[in-house]
């Protein structure tokens, strides 16, 4: 018995054709979201081929063939020429057997419909459908699929530009050592030159190492050990300026020092703690930095006993409101989320007059993240 329940359950023949089409489209989508490359073309073309059902299908960029699927492999060399003509025209072109010279007996490929792939008003490649007859239906289908692929590629472009934006922010943050900090540090060092030359020299070395780390250009990630070393240098320089008014406690579990973290993900938090927490508080205050080992995760807490902040302001800073003073917070939060997933954002506990505690959780291992 041919299982009638199943037929009812899945709808009519037309419904199921729609489902198949949608399913094939959804299979092709993830690869295309990486942009138009030989690799993504190779991985998506099988599903696009299933979608169209023609004897052969090719994807090219503007320069040449990226992937071919189906019969008639001997036509591969011709696809670059077809692409060039279509890119030139900027719209869908139909080619017949005079354009596709073929001497192989029994070859199904006698015609081709070539549609341009367009992102942001620019032709980036072509979709080439090969068949025996250049029918109007085939042209329409090729056109529609090319439009859909173009939409996916535009999304890929969007992803890429979001990543570029993040990178630009990190670069900005590197260059963002505040002029005040440089001025104040050098001033503090200068005040020691006569009274305590040894200390002045040490501080100058720390200052040089600190700037070298912060201006580092390579690598998106670093180890927690490196990041904390830079934080310590920063605090050393700030202490030279504030003296006893700035009290610092560090409690670091040595087990978590090798953890890979995004570059400059702790230091902005410490800078915030010093600036917002202490500079405005009378009689100085204390900062504590704690790193703990929680089996598969590492937990880092930066805490100050300064004036605190209105939670709503922090919420807006985390949401990326650029008009606020807490520059680093939103950026660090965003980078932690893109690196480790949405579960790993910053947690900020604060209230006016109650100090601030920022907690960072970092997994010990995340695919693709290494210092």
């Amino acid at each position: 018995m041919p299982r009638p329940w199943r037929r009812r359950h899945l709808g009519t023949e037309a419904d199921r054709a729609t489902f198949r089409t949608l399913h094939n489209a959804s299979l092709a989508a993830p690869a295309l979201r990486a942009g138009l490359t030989a690799d993504s073309a190779e991985r998506s073309i099988r599903h696009l081929h299933d979608l169209l059902g023609s004897p052969a299908l090719a994807l090219t960029d503007t320069a040449g063939l990226l992937a071919w699927h189906g019969s008639g492999q001997h036509h591969r060399e011709q696809s670059a020429g077809l692409a060039a003509v279509t890119v030139e025209a900027g719209r869908t072109r139909v080619f017949d057997r005079s354009d596709l010279r073929c001497t192989v007996a029994g070859c199904e490929i006698r015609a081709a419909v070539v549609s341009p792939l367009v992102t942001e008003q620019r032709v980036v490649g072509t979709l080439q459908v090969f068949a025996a007859q250049p029918t109007a239906g085939l042209a329409r289908a090729a056109d529609e699929v090319a439009l859909w692929v173009s939409a996916q590629l535009e999304l890929a472009e969007l992803d890429a530009s979001r990543t570029r934006l993040m990178e630009a922010e990190v670069r900005a943050m590197r260059a963002q050592i505040s002029p005040h900090f440089i001025y104040n540090s050098l001033g503090a060092i200068a005040s020691f030159v006569r009274t305590d030359p040894d200390r002045a020299r040490d501080l100058l070395t720390e200052f040089a190492d600190f700037t070298r780390y912060s201006f580092r250009t390579h690598g998106e990630y670093t180890t927690l050990a490196e990041e904390l070393r830079s934080v310590e240098r920063y605090l050393l320089l700030e202490q030279a300026r504030f003296g006893d008014r700035l009290r610092v406690t560090l409690r670091i579990a040595p087990e978590v020092l090798p953890v890979a973290v995004p570059f400059l993900c702790i230091q902005p938090l410490v800078e915030n703690a010093v600036r917002h927490g202490l500079e405005s508080a009378e009689g100085g205050g204390s900062i504590s930095i704690v790193a703990r080992d929680h089996d598969q995760e590492c937990v880092i807490e930066v805490e100050d006993d300064g004036v605190g902040e209105d939670p709503d302001v922090v919420r807006r800073a985390l949401a990326g409101d650029a008009s606020l003073d807490s520059v680093g917070l939103g950026n660090v939060d965003g980078r932690l989320r893109t690196t480790f997933g949405d579960g790993y954002g910053l947690v900020v506990e604060t209230a006016p007059g109650a100090g601030t505690r920022v907690t960072v959780r970092v997994p010990k291992f995340a695919p693709g993240v290494h210092a």
Binding site: E226, L228, A253, P258, R292, F365, H370
Partner: protein, 502 residues
Amino acid sequence: MSPGLDAAPGIVAIAFVTVATLAIGTWGLRFSRTTSDFFVASRSVHPRLNASAIGGEYLSAASFLGVAGLVLLNGADMLWYPVGWTAGYLVLLVLVAAPLRRSGAYTLPDFAEARLGSRGVRAACSVLVVAIGWLYLLPQFQGAGLTLRSAVGAPTWLGPVIVGVVVLANVTSGGMRSITFVQAFQYWLKLTALLVPAAVLLVVWAGDSSPPASGAGGWSVPLASGGPSGLYVTYSLIIATFLGTMGLPHVVVRFYTNPDGRAARRTTLVVLVLLGLFYLLPPVYGALGRIYAPELAVSGRSDALVLELPRIMVDGLLGEVLTGLVTAGAFAAFLSTSSGLSIAVAGVLSQDVTGRSRRLGGVAAFRLAAVVAVTVPCVVALLAPNLGVARAVGLAFAMAAATFCPLLLLGIWWRGLTPYGAVAGLVVGGLTSAVAIAWTVGVADPDGWVDALMGQPAAWTVPLALATMVSVSLLTRDSVPAHADRFLVRLHTPETLELDRG
């Protein structure tokens, strides 16, 4: 033995170790991390300290009690157990330690995911971590029952329950795993607990004008009995222990603490020295037991040899003190190894099973996972027959050797490994090992070739899994991960080399 005056040193020792472990687990953070001065970040864990910690976590009931019992029972053949458990670190040192550290993986499933870029392989590895962890926990719990019965005459079920509760309290309250210092201390405690009584007993033996073992002959000669199947069992044991060490979930995570690949190698080297030192001692107990306590072998209580020998050989207060010392050492062995294993299993469970539930938070998910991770082997330990501590651990090693060893070796040294090949090899290795273990537990009297093959399966399961992994990988050559070459470069280039590792 009836509980009475005899039980006093045992009760004191067990109470001391239990309270100390719980106290350190609860307040340890405050002990080991006082306010520090600057540049704490440059103070990473030294290889010597880390090696002691690995030793502390690694030396389980099987090492502390099982080896001496086996030597008493079966003679010099059984020395392959301690030799293999040590030499496993040699294989780890040469082939795995530094590349594994450079991979940045924390657990074995992490390594599989990073190397092969596949969630499927990760899932298979997670299942195996749980299986091997439980298999290894089982004899720890059974050994605890044995120790309690031997030391204070308590019923056998009490030991697993006490160890289970202490481990659970420790793991859920924050975990002693996190503190390298505590695990390092455990190694030196175990070494002392075995070394001091052994020295005293040797002096007693020398003062007794050094009597030779009764009924000598074949006992001290390797392979004196058993014929060809004895030879097979020995080779199979060597393969299981040499290759199984790298697949133990609680050992691998310790390597993450090393700052780089070079430190990982140095750590492994020190582990070799420390284990070599420790494993000199159990055979001493075995040999002395042969002279002074052969009745333990006859009555089937050979695993209790280390615990009972001091009292048999030395009378009075000194004997009681020594008994207390070995009991404390044995209990420390259960607790440290069980904690490490439970955390490893609970970590995998909470990440891949209970963590998926949206209703549970991170901490709640981990606690639920810890309860499952401890309860299952604890209950099984109460129900299942006792295989002998060292033999049961040997089976866990055999399973690790047949699954994670091929994955690690091929993953580190062969760029052609594919996700399909890895899964196929893991499934074949895991299933054949599981069948062999079920056979061994089910069949009462091990005799004949089939039982030898099943009781010590590594010699055929490891090559089978390795061959499966290679051949399926060759068949699915198209699916070699795109980043394989780059990943292998990361694994094998020293960190000091300037190189773009992205």
